[in-house]
Amino acid sequence: MKIGVSSTGENLDANVDQRFGRCKYFLIVDTESMEFEVLSNENAMASGGAGIQAAQTIAKTGAEVVVTGNVGPNAFQTLSAAGMKIFTGASGTIKESIEKYKKGELKETEAPSVGSHSGMRR
């Protein structure tokens, strides 16, 4: 199964980016083989709607699950419409986060974890 993770860097040793819509990269990781694809987040600097674009980008990759730090209301709505499962509260490296996901240590979120524009405050 493929998982989309918000990342600060381009490999599995990079940390999870706490922001979903405004993260630097998305890593699309195959949980069986741990092979991954890197997508640069071109909408990280968008004036608005970054989360909406990010959600569409991930949905197009065929990933079924999103692992991130936090997700805002618009991204949450878009990911949910795409039928994706969202796991927030991830931290540490991408590798560690995926391990935690596999062990069931991450919690699936039923609601946005932060308000609008939270990713812009950093």
Partner: protein
Amino acid sequence: MIISIASGKGGTGKTTIATNLALSLGKVQVIDCDVEEPNANIFFNAEIKEREDVTVEIPEIDKEKCDYCGKCSEFCAYNALAVVPSDVLVFPELCHSCGGCEIVCPQNAINWKRKPVGKIEHGITNGVDFYHGLLNVGEIQAVPVIKALKKKIDKEGNVIIDAPPGTSCPVIESINGSDYCILVTEPTPFGLHNLKLAIAVVRHLYIPFGVIINRDGVGDKKVEMYCQTEKIPILMKIPHSEEIANLYSIGIPFVKKLPEWHEKFTELFRRIQEGVRT
């Protein structure tokens, strides 16, 4: 003649100038375009007799026709549309009602519905034909409300536009089309910095302009020096005075209590009028 009152920095005295100038002139139209926090009516106390809703058009997707191709979402510069495998989401607060999604949609699946974003209100007081706009709480686009307000401009008479602070879209929408722009500043480094930004805007729009220094006496002389160097007219200086501040704090335009200012504002208007004509 349309005179707009603007400033880069907030709290420099735009509404003070707009209200005192209006009351000195008498027969005039005043339009408070600071729709996020209109406060001119604190000074006018006009009884609101008319109200109009302001609406914008937001796309509504006909899901019978839509084949989720994603062209609308790719086109939208404001990310107001999201297309996922079996759904299209519209985010009304991000939409700028440009109509582009309808043009690019190959399935003709875009319809429009009206969404209220604010209202405009009207009243008459002391010979002032007064309008202001109110953006609904939670809405982020002031421009449609300002556009609705500007439709009320009576070009036959004299019009004073009280603009919002800053230099962004709502300011440009408010002052565009004015015959003259008064830029209000305070004589401080912050005031000067934001005055320069405002000057760049009015120059870009080719609007003749001059500067009023409010709270003159505080800060430094750099605003004056800058205006001299740039040959920008300083139209008026209002001293940093406890009396004026007191009147302001209880919602009384100071021309009502200090009649000498009545003449100064009338004279200011006359000079602007002559300047614009020549």
